[in-house]
Symmetry: C2
Subunit: 224 residues, 2 copies
Amino acid sequence: MADRTRLTRKPERGSGSDRARLDALLDEALVATVATVDEGMPWVVPVLFARDGDRVLIHGSTGAGAMRQLAQGAPAAFSVTAIDGIVVAESTFESSANYRSAVLRGTFAVLASDEASRALDLLSNRILPGRTHEVRASLPKELAATLTLALPIEDGSWLYKERVGPPGEPDEEHAAWCGVVPLAVTAGSPQPAPWALGPVPASVNALVAAYPAPALSDAGPGPV
Amino acid sequence: MADRTRLTRKPERGSGSDRARLDALLDEALVATVATVDEGMPWVVPVLFARDGDRVLIHGSTGAGAMRQLAQGAPAAFSVTAIDGIVVAESTFESSANYRSAVLRGTFAVLASDEASRALDLLSNRILPGRTHEVRASLPKELAATLTLALPIEDGSWLYKERVGPPGEPDEEHAAWCGVVPLAVTAGSPQPAPWALGPVPASVNALVAAYPAPALSDAGPGPV
């Protein structure tokens, strides 16, 4: 994070343990931004995505300009950030955020036919686990209207950074409360459409379970 | 969002009502990504930020490469995205996400002396309302180590998109549950550091109150 954050772990490229953290972030975050260069100027679009082993998958309309540009091999910077907490220190200068962030650089490849179809199922099931078993298969015309792209996760082409834990211990006299306010993306109760059939399905319950609220206790919090 | 999202509102530039929505998004989101072009290649970094009227403010270490590049006037694309829900339709093709996203294009200006100091206070108080009244003022050496930058919000230089509401009503026979799973960034209980002094302060309570969990009811959800 381009702020006064203390990195508890230095940025590294391609180390084994950071790769596991990268994968965990990619498997948790719901949205990424893809930055490209358009006539010399920076551009960026948000996308839903899914990790599939050593690559990330995105999809979009064949009519979307950014997707077409990526499909033509434009260099991309794919970025994911999770804010895990606000770090409240004894001064504003030492205050910061707990976060995990990753940038993957490279060019996307276009997936075709069966591979694209499998990738789209994976994208659906990443967010709503098992959803493809609850609804009909995609139609040929739907597949034809969709661009499905894959960006490889290659050693040396990605960067992972994080800050975790409490603020640093003050080295000055102070009179302030210090600590961390946890933050997390949280799911609420599913809201059925008027034409919804049947009970809330397993896929939706799995989504809700995957994004619980951080602990919020009226009895007072515990220590960091 | 570069996916199969139906836009309920077409992207517009600079219209009055969209400007209000843009401001609401900028005042709610905690993190942005700033994309730049570095030797012809796209690059992107996450940043904390605050809106200050017709501009957004960011700050970072004078030693950070991306900040120095921005300070030298590099063109930037500043992007904010909020995921408000997963839209579960009768097919994976029609499924989507509710979201709000904005991109601001332009070049950042470097703020100096008093203006930088005020901007840094605004950045602190944006996340922790009133925090600057609870801790000592920033020191000259802290201000000297910090780059504070402002990007104007100018008509014609920003884009706002959103998708809201339930899935579209199916035009085909189906047997699926359809609806929306709300998502929101949620704060948990403040976790005091061992050296925290006093009760949880007003600034921290205000942060927690600003990011409540979406409704989650065991009694079953209501309709969309």
